[in-house]
C-alpha cells in the first residue's frame, strides 16, 4: 500500500483529477482481456513525459511497482498489477505528432489508437500494416510493448518491423532516445528492438517513430473449403512457392466452423476439416491474376469449394465468418483461454493433429484458428473458470501444447507476449542460458524491479 503522503506527492505531480484512488475506479484498471484480475493501489493518468519521469524517480525512491497500461486488451496479462502498485494509464497521451509524407514516417504518442493512426495515414495514401484483432481499441504503445502481430503479418511483418525509434523513460526517470527516422541504423546495440516487445518491464514508451509504406492499390478475397486439413496446408505451401505472397491466409478448423455456423447460420460446411480465407493485395492487374492462380492451385489440390468475392458485399460475408469466431466459441463455455503458439509453416498439419489429440486426452473443448501463412495458431480452450477440476485439466493441456510447439521448432507466443500467462513456460523455449541473459538485461536496466514486476520471468 502507498502512504497517504506519497499519494499526495503523486497528486501534486499530476493534478488530483488525474489520480484515481477509489476502489471502484481502481478495480477497473486491474484487468485486461485475460480471465485474470488484480487490484492496483493507484491509477494515474499522465499527459506528458515530464510527469512520467517524476513518477518513476519517486517509484525508485519509495520502491513501488509501476505498470504501464494502454487499452487493456492484452491477452497474456501484460498490464495486470499482479503485485499491486501504480497503474500508469497512457491513454491520454494520444496525439499523432507528425505524419512525414516525404520520409514515410509517423511520430506518435503511445495512447494513439491503432485504427485511428491507420485511418489518418490511409487518407494520405499511406499504410501502417500491423493489424491485431483489437486494432479498433488497442493503442500503438500497447502494440509496441507486446510486439503485436495480426493476419497481415505474413506478408507485411509485425509491429517490430515498423518501429524505427522510441523515446523511453527509464526506471530511473531518465530519457532514452533510440533509433530515429532512418530505415538503416547500426549505432551500437539495437535498443529499439530490445524495448519493442519488452512488455513494459524495461521502460515507459512515451514516443514512437513508425515506418509507413505506400497503400496497396487493390485487394481481393476468397474462401476455400477443404475436406482434408493436409490439402489446405499443401496448398498454402504451393501458393508461396509460386511466388504469391497473400496478405492474409486465415485458417479455421472444423470445430471453429461448427461454432460459427451454430451461432450465425452462414451456410458453412460442417463436414469439412478446414477453411482458408485468403486475401491478396497489390496493383489491380496483379491482384486479379493472383487470385485466379490461387483458385486454380487450390482446386488442383483437393479444394471442395472455391469462392472468390466479386464485390465488397461478398467480401464482407466471407469476413463475417472469421469475425464471428470469438463470439461463437464462447457460446460453448464462458471462459476462453486463447493461446498463441507459432510453428514453422510446414508443421501446421502436425501441430493441429497434436492439439486435437491433447484436447481429446484431457476432454476439453478446443477450437483452432489462426494465420496459416506464418504458422501462428490460436488454439482456444473453452472452459469454465469456476470449474476447478476442469481448470486443472486445462493447465496440464496448456503445458503439453507448449511442449509440442517447441518440439516442432516453434514458439510459445507469436503475437500476444509472455506476460503472466506464459511465464511458467518461458524456459521451455529460451533454455537456462536464454532465461539468464534476459534476466540480466532486466536487472541491469531496472535494478529495483520497479517496472511491471512478475511479468515474463514470473515471480521468481
Amino acid at each position: 500500500m502507498l502512504s497517504s503522503s506519497l499519494i499526495n506527492e503523486i497528486q501534486k505531480i499530476l493534478g488530483k483529477e488525474n489520480v484515481f484512488t477509489t476502489l471502484e475506479e481502481r478495480l477497473c484498471y486491474g484487468y485486461d482481456s485475460t480471465p485474470e484480475a488484480f487490484l492496483p493501489d493507484l491509477v494515474i493518468r499522465p499527459t506528458c513525459t515530464e510527469q512520467i519521469q517524476k513518477i518513476l524517480k519517486l517509484a525508485n525512491l519509495h520502491l513501488f511497482p509501476v505498470i504501464p497500461r494502454g487499452a487493456g486488451t492484452g491477452l497474456s496479462g501484460g498490464s495486470l498489477p499482479v503485485k499491486g502498485g501504480v497503474i500508469l494509464d497512457l491513454n491520454r497521451m494520444d496525439r499523432i505528432l507528425e505524419i512525414d509524407e516525404e520520409n514515410l514516417v509517423a511520430t506518435v504518442e503511445p495512447g494513439v489508437i491503432t485504427a485511428h493512426l491507420q485511418e489518418e495515414v490511409e487518407k494520405r495514401g499511406l499504410f501502417y500494416p500491423p493489424d491485431p484483432a483489437s486494432l479498433k481499441t488497442s493503442t500503438i504503445g500497447g502494440n509496441v510493448a507486446e510486439c503485436a502481430g495480426g493476419p497481415r503479418a505474413f506478408k507485411y511483418g509485425v509491429t517490430r518491423d515498423y518501429v524505427l525509434g522510441l523515446e523511453i523513460v527509464t526506471p530511473k526517470g531518465e530519457i532514452l532516445q533510440t533509433g530515429g527516422k532512418t530505415v538503416k541504423s547500426v549505432t551500437g546495440y539495437d535498443l529499439t528492438r530490445l524495448y519493442t516487445g519488452s512488455e513494459g518491464t524495461l521502460g515507459i514508451i512515451t514516443k514512437i517513430i513508425l515506418r509507413l509504406i505506400p497503400k496497396p492499390e487493390a485487394k481481393k478475397t476468397m474462401m476455400i473449403v477443404y475436406e482434408r486439413l493436409d490439402d489446405a496446408a499443401k496448398t498454402v505451401t504451393l501458393i508461396i512457392k509460386q511466388g504469391i505472397i497473400p496478405v492474409t491466409l486465415e485458417l479455421m478448423d472444423d470445430i471453429t466452423m461448427r461454432c460459427v455456423e451454430n451461432y450465425l447460420q452462414l451456410g458453412l460446411p460442417l463436414d469439412a476439416e478446414a477453411v482458408l480465407i485468403i486475401e491478396v493485395d497489390g496493383p489491380i492487374d496483379l491482384v486479379e491474376k493472383q487470385i485466379n492462380q490461387v483458385g486454380e492451385l487450390s482446386r488442383a489440390n483437393g479444394a471442395r469449394e472455391v469462392k472468390i468475392a466479386k464485390n465488397e458485399k461478398e467480401r464482407e460475408e466471407i469476413w463475417a465468418a472469421r469475425r464471428a469466431v470469438s463470439a461463437a466459441v464462447v457460446q460453448i463455455k464462458p471462459t476462453k483461454i486463447s493461446e498463441d503458439i507459432a510453428v514453422p509453416r510446414s508443421q501446421i498439419p502436425v501441430m493441429v493433429r497434436r492439439l486435437k489429440e491433447i484436447a481429446f486426452r484431457y476432454q476439453l473443448n478446443l477450437a483452432i484458428f489462426g494465420h496459416a501463412g506464418d504458422g501462428n495458431l490460436h488454439p482456444n480452450i473453452l472452459c469454465d473458470k469456476n470449474d476447478s477440476e476442469e481448470m486443472e485439466r486445462v493447465e496440464k493441456a496448456i503445458g503439453e501444447l507448449f511442449q509440442a510447439a517447441v518440439e516442432l521448432g516453434g514458439t510459445l507466443s507469436g503475437e500476444h507476449g509472455i506476460g503472466t500467462m506464459k511465464a511458467p513456460y518461458l524456459k521451455l523455449e529460451t533454455g537456462e542460458v536464454g532465461f539468464e541473459v534476459m534476466r540480466a538485461i532486466k536487472k541491469a536496466l531496472d535494478p529495483n524491479n520497479i517496472l511491471n514486476p512478475g511479468k515474463i520471468f514470473g515471480s521468481g
Binding site: 476502489l23 471502484e24 478495480l27 484487468y31 482481456s33 463470439a327
Partner: protein, 433 residues
Amino acid sequence: MNNLAKTTAYLNRCSKCGSCQAVCPLYGETKTEPYVARGKLFLLKSHLEGKLPLSSKMKEIMSLCLLCKACVEQCPNSIPVDRMILAARQEIAREKSISFVKKNIFQHLLKNNGRLTLAAQLGYFYQRAGLQWLVRKSRILEVFRGELAQKEHLLPKMAKHPFRKQVPRLFTCSRPKLRVAYYTGCLTNFVYHATGYAVINVLRNHELEVLIPEQWCCGIPALAGGDEKTAIELARKNIDVFQKAGVDVVITDCASCGSMLKEYADLVETPEARAFAAKVLDFSQFLSEAVSFHAGENEIPGLVTYHDPCHLKRGQGVSGAPRKLIKMVPGLAFKEMKESDRCCGAAGSFNLTYHNLATKIGRRKVQNIQQTCADLVITGCPSCIMQLRHVLELEKSPVRVLHLAELLSMTYPSRKANKERGANKTKSRRGRC
C-alpha cells in the same frame, strides 16, 4: 432475486475484450475505463460477488451511461448492457433512495397530467415574463457551482398550453384505411408543437382517422432513473387508454417514447401489454411499411443529412425507413454523415445532469454534420432535436434541425402546420459549402 442479480449470466459472458471502447461515446471523450461497458460490468460483477457495496461512487458511475446501446450492438457476446445498467440503477435507488427532486418528478409530476402541465406552464411563465431575460442578463446562475447557466440555456421555449389541449381529440376521415392513435410524447406536448401539427398533417394526407387520446408519460425517465415501479404504473395507464381506444396502430414521434412503449411487453408482462406493444410503430416505420407514403408536390430545395436517434436505430431497429422517406421529398438532396448513429449526447436528461460531457459528445456530432455541408439535419426524436439545436447554436452554426414529420409536412399544400412554423421559406442554394 432482484433484477440485478438476474443478470449474472450475462455478466459471465463478458470476456473483457474491450470492443465496447471503440463505440462508447463517453469513453471516446473521457478515455476512462469505469465509464465504458467493460468497466461497469466488472464493477457489477464485483458487487454481486460481495466485494463492492453500492456506494455513492457506484451510483455516479452507473448514472454515467447514455443508454445509447452502441456497446450492445458492438459486443461479440450480445450482452444487453443497457438493461443491466437500468437494473443497477433500480437496485441503487432501492438501497440509497432516489434524490428528493427526482422522486418528486417521477412519483408526483409524471403520473399526474394536471401537475405536469402546471410545471410546463411555470416554465413558460419564467421564459415569457422576462424572468429568463433577467436571469440570463444578471448572470445570477453563474454564482452556483456547476454548469447551471449553460443548462438553463439548453431549455427550449416552453409552449403556453399543452399541444393536446389545442387539437381535437379525433380527426375523422370519410373512408379511413386505418384508425390510428397518435402518442404525442411530453416534448411534443409541451415544447415542440410544430412536430405535433406536422405529424397530424402528414397522417391526414394518407386517408387515416387520427385519434389523440388522453395519455401519460411513457415512463422512460423514471425507468432510467431507477424507479421501475413508477414506470410500470405509467405503462399500465397508457396500455389501458390505448387498448380502450380500439385503434389499429399507435404512432410515436419520439424515438425514446417509441422504444419504451414497445418494451411494455417485457415490463408489464400481461397479454394486454403484449397486444399494445405489437401495435406501436414509429412515425417513419408506419409511413414506410403500413401505408404507401406519398409526398406532396412542394419542392424543398437544399441539402439534408440524417441523424439516427439511438432509440430508433438500435432501440427499434428503424434506420432505413426515415432515409427512404427523406429521399422521396421532391427537390431535396441527401448526404449521409459520418457516424450517423453515434449518440448526440442528449440521452434523456443526461445533457442536463452532465452538461459539459454531453456538449463534448454533441460537438463530435456537430462536426460530422458540418462535414456534409448540409443546411438541414433531419432526425426522429425531440430529445435529439433539443440537443442538436443547442450544440449547433453553441458552435454558431446556421444549420437547422427538424423532425422528419416537419420535413414531410412541408411538401403538402399549406395547412395550419406550415403556418405554425413559418417553414414555407424556400432556399435557392443547395448545401452550405
